[in-house]
Amino acid sequence: MSHSTQQGSPTEDQRPTRDPESLARDHEGRWRVAITGMGVKTPAGCDLKTMYETMLNATPVTAPITLFDASDLPVRIACEVRDFDPLAYVDRRISRRMDRVSQLGFAAAMDAVGDAGSPAGESARRAVIVGTGTGGAPTMGDQAIAFERNGANRVSALLVPMLMPNATGAFVAMELGWTGPNYAVGSACASGTTALGEAARLIRHGQCDVVLAGGAENSVNVYAMASFCRSGALSTRNDDPAGASRPFDADRDGYVMGEGATFLVLERLDQALARDARIYGEVVGYALNSDAHHLTAPRPDGSGAAACMRAAITDAGLTPECIGHVNAHGTGTDLNDAMEARALHGVFPTGPPPVTSVKGVFGHLMGAAGAAEAAIAMLSATNGVVPPTANHERGDEDFTLDVVVDAPQPIGPQPVMSNSFGFGGHNACLVLSPFAGR
């Protein structure tokens, strides 16, 4: 089918008549992919409603670090997940087998499944894909200290099971009894987006009926913070936490570290319709590529990111004019925001549509960022409003973008493109579309 029939506003009798089989497949004959559940554990809220309202209000949640003693660090602010108790999801025995990344990820995944209801399909056709930048790396740091202090006999047997990036997926599968594909993807800050895209692929090509996919990161820890402080990537506005994360703003000075997790339930659209599921929207386009340029810096001309965006739009069977708004990577670093603006102008020759970066509110959730932002982008696309970008006060003279500020901008239900770009030059883009109806 053509997605153009969904995005316009034809009257009922102008819509082409399609049989159920053609409605089930996209313009390339692949199974269409519905989003039927969402679960979040983010610094802006541990439930979907709270997180989304915080975004619409553009209330920054950056605050002094409480998870560890940051007094020795040049950056002492971050976006932490507050009011999260893993024991609400697992017992003490299991909780102590989990790095915080798995505690957050497991909880978000369970919320997403609860939100989705009862998807169809046998367990062998249900998959789990977890995107994470560093998995349980903080556990490795803690155990290295134990080794240094007390020797090899005091290294925990749990080190490797807690460290491995696939641990979150393993816990989820054990809990749900899902025996289909289960793996972790790592593309740094693009991991969450990559996980969702790969999940859509599994469904599109008929390999799975349901995929629980998303991202999780335990990044507000002393090791990651120390490293990013040394690399100069973080905002040093310790005295103005609320104003620290400034996407696309002329006075931006780096990103604010965040942590958290978000999982989405992706389901074959026809099966979701058959069980009368609530449908948030569809994953209609996905692409990923590599800058092949530098270990941490993006390719300055934005050509890699632009190629990725174009490929995602083409994958959706759309043209750039169909994209109602862009949920940008928009980290608030000098290099990313300039590069992304260039890339957007390359993709949208007549000028990019309205752009927002929710990182102004909850910072950079690293491997979880793409998943949390996809959830927000999906809700925004369906609701037809673009959330404002917090702290965007003064445009950069080097680029012009229609950055949404101050208040949500009504645009009507339209597809959205959600961008993520990671260290190593990993680019991943999703196109998410409102679902037009049954």
Binding site: D91, R93, R96, A157
Partner: protein, 84 residues
Amino acid sequence: MNRDDIFKATVEACSEILGVSEDTVTHDAVLRDDLDADSLDLAELAMALEDRIGVSVPEQDFKQVATVSDTLDLLEQHLAAARS
């Protein structure tokens, strides 16, 4: 440290690592069956008990224990050997 002290330390370690209530950690309790311990738990338990009791026990010996009482015997035996 006498057997009662070792038992108290064992109860605390089991409760912390296995997530069980302290009153379930009886002398007759079988670690794997009654307290639901698996191989990872037993490795963690061994390390925690060595730390709490201040004795070093070969990993192989810990793998032989079945009940809480066996654990106490093993720890007592190694504690006595260390003292002699």
